[in-house]
Symmetry: D2
Subunit: 340 residues, 4 copies
């Protein structure tokens, strides 16, 4: 950490900054430049992090520059520069293969889930997703079948053997999802719901953590750090689009996040090409692009009759379209030396 003193700082300002640093058990390293004095802070990174805001509020300080990343457990450096793998039952995410997670946006009926599950399995999906609790922008939209929805998903697992991923939005829902499903999804709107992150960390279940629409990559990694700091290392990161000024898609899929995340962290990274697109025709090109960029998996919404869906119809694929997408995605994976 480096403290840049402003051009008008006094010797007393500087002495106070040095004292604050030394009282915390850290050492200083002062460098007098032509136009600025810079105070380097040397010592334990955790202690430095705690001191950051106090130093920034002190008289004479122009700004405080971090040298190290503010996260630890998710940091690639703390995992010897190696990728980690997250197992969901018998499926490994992050182990070289591209894992496709597919299923309907909302669970609507046993028939809908059963037919979708079989179709996506036949096309090569390795996990089944489905929403039993739905975060909806409007209170008047369909909110999900709740526990019954989870039971329907668990039955589909019985039928197909596909492990199940489902979203939880609070502690009570988390308990139910842990009971019925194999992986819990923390949605984009809850990425900084710290209570839920801690609860998911304590639950120990594999977590699929979606990036918030206005979250930086650093904030996504800090959200994962919340989960890992409770002792749960089974976190998969998911890029699903960020909010920008461009209105032709609902969100802008930030595919550069894939190589950036894999450079900073050891955790697996998957991509959801549906929510950002808002239109099913854009899903296949963005799914291909995500795999080409190095994603460890995809999250795709599939519905037997999208125009009858109770949520997000325009962005869901039919089973036929999904089968075609899987063929395209497999070819791209092979081209970069991986397979689906």
């Amino acid at each position: 950490m480096i403290v840049v003193m402003g051009p008008q700082h006094t010797p007393a300002d500087r002495a106070a900054v040095v004292r604050e640093i030394e009282v915390a058990g850290l050492r200083v390293h002062i460098s007098e430049g032509v136009e600025r004095t810079v105070i380097g802070v040397v010592g334990d990174s955790h202690t430095k992090e705690l001191l950051h805001e106090s130093l920034e509020a002190m008289p004479g300080v122009e700004r405080v520059v971090r040298i190290l990343q503010p996260y630890k457990l998710v940091n690639r450096e703390f995992h010897a520069g190696q990728d980690s793998t997250v197992r969901v039952r018998d499926v490994a995410i992050g182990g070289g293969r591209v894992v496709v997670i597919a299923g309907p946006c909302s669970v609507e009926s046993p028939q809908q889930v059963a037919s979708t599950a079989r179709a996506v399995q036949a096309a090569g999906a390795r996990l089944l997703r489905g929403g039993a609790f739905k975060p909806r922008t409007s209170p008047y939209s369909f909110q999900g079948l709740e526990e019954w929805g989870l039971q329907i998903l668990a039955e589909a697992r019985e039928d197909t053997g596909l492990p199940v991923v489902a979203e939880a939005m609070d502690a009570r829902q988390l308990e139910l999802v842990v009971k019925y499903a194999d992986m819990v999804q923390i949605g984009a709107r809850n990425m900084q719901n710290y209570t839920l992150l801690r609860d998911a960390g304590r639950a120990g279940h594999p977590v699929l953590l979606k990036r918030g629409p206005s979250a930086t990559i650093e904030e996504l990694l800090l959200a994962a750090e919340y989960i890992m700091s409770e002792g749960n290392p089974n976190v998969v990161l998911c890029e699903r689009g960020i909010r920008t000024f461009e209105p032709s898609t609902r969100f802008t899929l930030d595919l550069a996040a894939v190589p950036v995340l894999k450079g900073l962290s050891h955790l697996p990274v998957v991509v959801d090409p549906c929510h950002s697109s808002g239109k099913w025709k854009l899903v296949a090109p963005m799914a291909r692009a995500a795999v080409a960029a190095g994603a460890d998996g995809l999250l795709v919404e599939v519905h037997p009759e999208p125009d009858q869906a109770l949520s997000d119809g325009p962005q869901q694929l039919t089973p036929q379209h999904f089968t075609a997408l899987m063929a395209e995605v497999s070819a791209v994976a092979l081209a970069i030396g991986r397979r689906v």
Copy 2:
């Protein structure tokens, strides 16, 4: 609602759209233009909203355009075009006066809160704020004194008579905040935490709802609609900055949101000039600007010794700076025919 049919749609596509609309009990009104056919949907707005996504997913449909706002109870039209007022004990927010809510970012000790409360009251603040549960980007930052923090705030209310505002991030915290405080704050990161919104709606306590950093004005109003749809009309909206590309401030304070929100909704609108700034020197100019733009109140962070604060030191004002800010803000309020 209007359905625009694409240039290559077939008569069968159009018939299917008309059928879908009529089955829902709505009427159609077809307009053939030179290059597009437009199908107007006439009838109950709630039913139309439910049909929106299905229509958008149908073959031949280019897009669906909403004519009405998707919210009802928060809509200015449903309140006869009048402003509503929210009472927190004996203080009315929205009733013409500019209400200032002040206090420390985090509750740290009884002494800190007591001295801050007296200072802000002397300077003209009408409510006391303080954080007992802190949402922090890093799991290693100070997380708040929890229930003890709420007790400290309640003691300060005993002492000064100032009603108390405190944030809750989940159902358990909400119960405690309702027990000790007079108004519950739902923070920016929880603006789309629908479980919490519903719980706050049911609790009935006045709610201070902060805009999420990537939330549109429409999404903020829909979040308020969640609370109101549970029977709680006591919602105050708070603009606190949105996420943009500009790095010199933490968030970009969107002051146009004040007149826009007041044009669309009857709810009171306050502004937090601290979190967007990130630096205390920017707080006073932005507080003056917020009042000049028509805000019904301000939310200001004050700390006796900002450089010793356990959170957000750089953006908190000293009591002296706060007193100066109140003088400036009062003069601006008078200039536009209001008073603090």
Copy 3:
């Protein structure tokens, strides 16, 4: 076009709107809904576009909704739904093959350009790019070799046969670029420099038009319309990243723009994966992703010694890295049925 009348509009307001439309030679089609009256405007789309702002400013009008796109010549519909092809000497962009345009950010010397040109040609690039006039954020940065730079590029074309692309920022530069190069680049910062767009339209030379960092897809298409409306159909669109809040890359590459642009327009679309990344390690994954998303070409910066480059060193590839990138990109192209 549709005019939505506000809830408090008067009969006189409505009559004035109808008169304004009819005076312009258009017809109205009025639809009375339960809560709003909507006036459809039927007739020539060009006339409607001109009326848009006047109607929006009239008393009683809530908003005006466009039904058709505001551009014509670049519209896919006006080209019978077919892709167009732009020829630069003997190279066709948009004709099924993926065309790679490569070369140094800035032209620095004859040796640098000659060695780069031969290296990129050997690796499969089909056009040579190089900057002779450099748009630099700071007036103190290197601004380019100007005419001498263009001569160096022309010599490299003599040597290799590769057609040359170079940027022009004003009328005088445009004349020189047309004299020496085969395709003129209009940079992101000049995407809405309308004088330059018209001049490039009149010059008739093929144009590589880069999307501005805050330009919507619609605005990019309108900029291309400026060029085409002067009689020059040879426009290639280039996605190069938009400005967002994410600081880990310089810009966020919006790859969904590729299928969106190809759906709206007939023009070829290429991607520049360098400027958004800011770091050469991100270039290869984003280049692969661009091709997988359906781009008709790539624009890649290559420098024999990036750490000695006079501009943008961190994002330029060495010839060795470029050769590896070409192999990866070729494999991805084959996987989706195209070739480089």
Copy 4:
């Protein structure tokens, strides 16, 4: 400037970085931390700036952190921390008074300009603005009366004595604007048109420089540096809204830019509350807010009949509304110790 070496850098990497710095005539100051080595670069700031990108491209370097701002002449530090004043004929901008610049978006006829000029003068405006060359998103929109428009503005100056501000978009227009008008406006879309910035610097006329919709505050200051580096110190900065995801206004007015700019630079700062709003009803609240935030002036569009305007009708005020706005703005200015 500080060079952070990555965790895996070699002694050879470090030696190369040190050599690069020393060859440029600068000195190094090495600080070995627990987890990173940091190399401070000491010496002339201009030389450091030129070295920035080369260092960032060198092997072993994690990142390069700037300590000083990259601009000089516009920097407040280089003006002894004092505000500068820009004179346009007999009107001083930046000297304590709030200067209002008003007039129509486009010059349409002598009558329109004459009546607007007299009306805005009567209401207290000190400069007249009007567009003779209009940057329009669509090539089919009205593009301005060109030289005749400038003559009309010059006649209105004869009539009222108000100095005239007009926009130029290229070198030829600049010559005409310098001939007829008293201050040249460089519009938001041309903020990084470096040819135009240099030409405006050489012309020596006072310049009103608008912030680009995706330009950071630092980039705005660097654009002003381009003008000043050609010997023209008469630059007024203008905040006019940045591009964000919020659709209810055309741009988001970043009023915090006012105090931020005044803290970093000595140049006067004015605000255009019209272009961001897109709706005249939002102009008055945002104008009041801008003055309350400390703006040195306002730029307001006024038209005798906005619904007949050839451009931007919805955001232009009638003379009556402008007179009311001036009264409100004057009261706010007085409240903060200034006057209009």
